[in-house]
């Protein structure tokens, strides 16, 4: 019985194989700058999967994975703003525009992504620009864009409005390996 299944799997496997590239250690950082203070956090636990045949891409960003230099900020980020006990992950699900016209080489070329970003339980359709290249079988991608805090229902109390920027800079750096 077991043998049969294995044989079946082996025969059928090529039919189902998808051209998948992925990472579990992608980097995302964000930066909030105001005259009063700068706030910066980095996360190196980002999961990203790219379907090379269709140009579809998915991200999962664990909120608890963001590291701040100031531990109290990290606590407040999770407890008061992102509520990571209720919304443990941020995610993006979308596709790269005009994928089949993109010639993937070791030369960095710009792409446009479109899809649904979910942060703090709030989903929003976004389109942003990024870069992609392939080198030694590894696909490198990066993107740099801005997020409006209010778009994702993250409330900043009046007393801290001068400390936290309304628009946050986000930077993504990825190296994807073939599955």
């Amino acid at each position: 019985m077991k043998k049969n299944i294995i044989i079946c799997l082996l025969i059928l496997a090529p039919l189902f194989a998808r051209n998948i590239y992925f990472t579990r250690s992608g980097k995302v950082s964000f930066f909030s700058s105001t005259p009063i203070e700068d706030i910066k956090a980095e996360n190196e636990q980002v999961t990203c999967v790219l379907d090379l045949d269709k140009g579809e891409v998915s991200f999962r960003i664990p909120i608890l994975g963001f590291r701040f230099r100031n531990g109290l900020m990290q606590e407040h980020f999770n407890e008061n703003y992102m509520e990571s006990d209720i919304h443990p992950n941020a995610s993006f699900k979308g596709k790269i525009n005009d994928w089949h016209e993109i010639d993937l080489t070791n030369k960095v070329r710009s792409i446009a992504l479109e899809g649904t970003m979910t942060i703090h339980g709030v989903s929003k359709v976004i389109s942003e620009k990024g870069n992609i290249s392939i080198d030694n079988g590894n696909i490198s991608g990066d993107a740099n864009f801005q997020i409006k805090v209010a778009d994702y229902d993250v409330k900043i109390p009046k007393i801290l409005r001068e400390n936290i920027a309304k628009v946050i800079d986000v930077d993504i750096q990825l190296v994807l390996k073939k599955k």
């Binding site: 799997l9 230099r69 801290l160």
Partner: protein
């Protein structure tokens, strides 16, 4: 053979149905992560909480208790008097913090440390509780005919806490206090008590807190069990804690063993703690 085909159809049916790419790679993100914010401040009301200054953070705390409310409006519910303690503490790393403080009550200086052995986590192989050891050395410096050893008191506490959910946390505190000098023969040098404290959040930034210490073993007749009820307000780098308590001193041997206030005559103390953190 037919069974095999059906089985494999079922197996691969699952694969076809996957519309999320993330499901295509094995999920090993199920690692355990530490629990944050069991309490807002390093004190519950009077009692030490499991929280300590974060690494490289210097924390300044003012613990202010007014006089007894029993005289009512005459001295504005005790506001004409005050017993004040302030301290500085520093987080060496995730596990160790050290500090020093001074109280106006008996002009008491103190040195203390909080060492966290276990941290509550969630996820795979999670740890259900946090455990820390709190130790303090108190020294009275009030002018009095006393030898140096007689001025010393030692406090040792185990802090065992659990954050049950985003609102509710509970902590138990087996406490040992050693006084080098006691005032009467009936009093003991060694005192053991069992503290319990907790908090219930009202909103993201406010909570209701309580703590009390049950005596284990005999106490002198004048002994009153200590308790405190408080309200926490957190605003970024500050935590304000407003309270009513029956103990006026805010170091361990005072608030655990020397509570004096009685509810009946409104012989209680209004007070507040203010915590301010500095990032070094």
């Amino acid at each position: 053979m037919i069974r095999t085909i059906i089985l494999s159809t079922l197996l691969f049916g699952g694969l076809w149905a996957q519309d999320d790419l993330l499901e295509l790679i094995q999920d090993d993100s199920d690692v355990s992560t530490p629990i944050w914010g069991t309490f807002k401040a390093t004190r519950i009301v009077n009692a030490q909480s499991i929280e300590m200054p974060k690494p490289r953070i210097l924390e300044f705390m003012i613990l202010h208790r007014f006089g007894s409310m029993s005289d009512g409006f005459y001295d504005l519910f005790g506001m004409d008097e005050a017993v004040i303690r302030f301290d500085l503490k520093y987080g060496l790393n995730d596990h160790i913090s050290l500090g020093a403080g001074r109280s106006s009550l008996n002009k008491t200086f103190d040195l203390f440390s909080k060492i966290r052995f276990l941290r509550q986590t969630k996820g795979q192989g999670s740890m259900p509780i946090s455990i820390a050891l709190f130790t303090k050395l108190e020294m009275q410096t009030i002018t009095r005919d006393m030898d140096m050893p007689d001025r010393l008191t030692f406090d040792v506490q185990a802090l065992i806490a659990r954050k049950f959910n985003r609102s509710f946390s509970l902590q138990i505190m087996p406490t040992y206090i050693h006084r080098n000098l006691v005032l009467t023969q009936n009093e003991k040098h060694e005192l053991i008590s069992f503290g319990i404290g907790g908090r219930m959040k009202l909103s993201k930034r406010t909570s209701i807190n309580f703590d009390t210490f049950f005596p284990i073993g005999d106490r002198q007749d004048s002994y009153v069990q200590s308790w405190g009820m408080g309200y926490d307000i957190e605003t970024g780098g500050h935590v304000f804690q407003l309270m009513v308590t029956n103990a006026q001193g805010s170091f361990e041997s005072e608030y655990v063993e020397h509570a004096r206030g009685q509810l009946e005559d409104l012989d209680l103390y209004i007070g507040f703690n203010i915590t301010r953190v500095f990032s070094l």
